[in-house]
């Protein structure tokens, strides 16, 4: 049993490596709490029920985009019968959520989602002066 030292240190190294992500997350202060989103201040009800938006807001945006650009349908009737302009910057951000950073980005960063929409669509907060 002359290899005992090797075996235990190998096992120890293995354990450290396997559990490394946990320590890393502990150090970075990540919790299971989820992102701290800033809820819309003015708007009480979203264009669609929250449960739908949570799972399918990207589908909704995709159909907004198709309808507006390809079919010229630029208004949207929401679940509660209100009519909204189809506009990513104008309606989603300016009218409802007030801040892209504290709402969309916080959750996307948390979930490691990246979208390229804002390469073109303008975050109203950055509208003055050249962005980026």
């Amino acid at each position: 049993m002359r290899d005992r030292g090797w075996i235990y240190s190998g096992l120890g190294l293995f354990l450290i490596l396997v559990t490394y992500p946990f320590w890393q997350n502990l150090r970075a202060g990540v919790t299971s709490k989820g992102p701290d989103l800033r809820r819309p201040a003015e708007a009480k009800q979203c264009v669609m029920p929250v449960s739908y938006m949570r799972t399918s807001h990207m589908d909704l945006l995709a159909s907004w985009r198709e309808n507006a650009v390809r079919d010229g349908v630029r208004t949207f009737q929401s679940a509660d019968g209100q009519t909204y302009n189809v506009s990513l910057s104008g309606t989603c951000i300016t009218q409802c959520h007030a801040s892209k950073e504290e709402f969309c980005d916080r959750c996307h960063n948390y979930a490691s989602v990246s979208n390229y929409c804002w390469d073109c669509h303008v975050d109203p907060r950055q509208a003055h002066g050249s962005a980026r």
């Binding site: 669609m48 029920p49 739908y52 399918s56 589908d59 909704l60 159909s63 985009r65 309808n67 650009v69 390809r70 079919d71 010229g72 349908v73 630029r74 949207f76 009737q77 679940a79 509660d80 506009s87 990513l88 910057s89 104008g90 300016t94 390229y116 390469d119 073109c120 669509h121 303008v122 975050d123 109203p124 950055q126 509208a127 003055h128 002066g129 050249s130 962005a131 980026r132």
Partner: protein
Amino acid sequence: MILDRKSFLRLTGLSVLARKLVAAVTPKRWAMVVDARKCLQKEGCQKCIEACHRMHNVPAFAEPRHEVRWIWKEPFERAFPSQENLYSQAAFRDKPFPVFCNHCDNPPCVRVCPTGATWKRDDGIVMMDWHRCIGCRYCVAACPYGSRSFNWLDPRPRLTQMNAEFPTRTKGVVEKCTFCEERLARGEAPACVEACPEKAMVFGNLADPASEVRQLLGARYTVRRKPELGTRPEVYYIV
């Protein structure tokens, strides 16, 4: 009422259908008539270009090979190379004519687009879907009027101010004039028409015999750019 995914899709589908129906009942064919004599009245006037480019976040690149433009001025002999009448050319030589997408009735750019990112709408507008543009530049090569620009560089640093209501574009995407379809949808005239101090640009519905464009076309002699190519432009010039 809680809307599920299915009824949501059904609703949006219905609203698209309803719109197509309305379009079928009241036909529209957008066109523009440019009165060159009015346009040439104020030398060096750039109002239409400024209004359009500010509204649509069109970047200003100094280098011609990077240039992005929706509306610009072209010397008469370059804008109308097929006008062979030597004497009328002398009067207009080097005079700047406002040019932009002709929204051709037979658009060559649409035929070559491999992704369907550009197409002819029922109301005559040659529309562009920036989301589907893959930057192949076939359309740039196909357009005989130079109306399409490619973003060789990131446009954002070249914008001194951004209009948040209209998206910019990115590097690798083609862009052009859309007759301000986003303004038409709100019942407003195109930005250039509104900005022109001489009212040299008249915009309207060709399908309506009482419209101002039809009145003008009926009463005045007009020319179109490069008619011999068979693209049938929907932009007419009174010279």
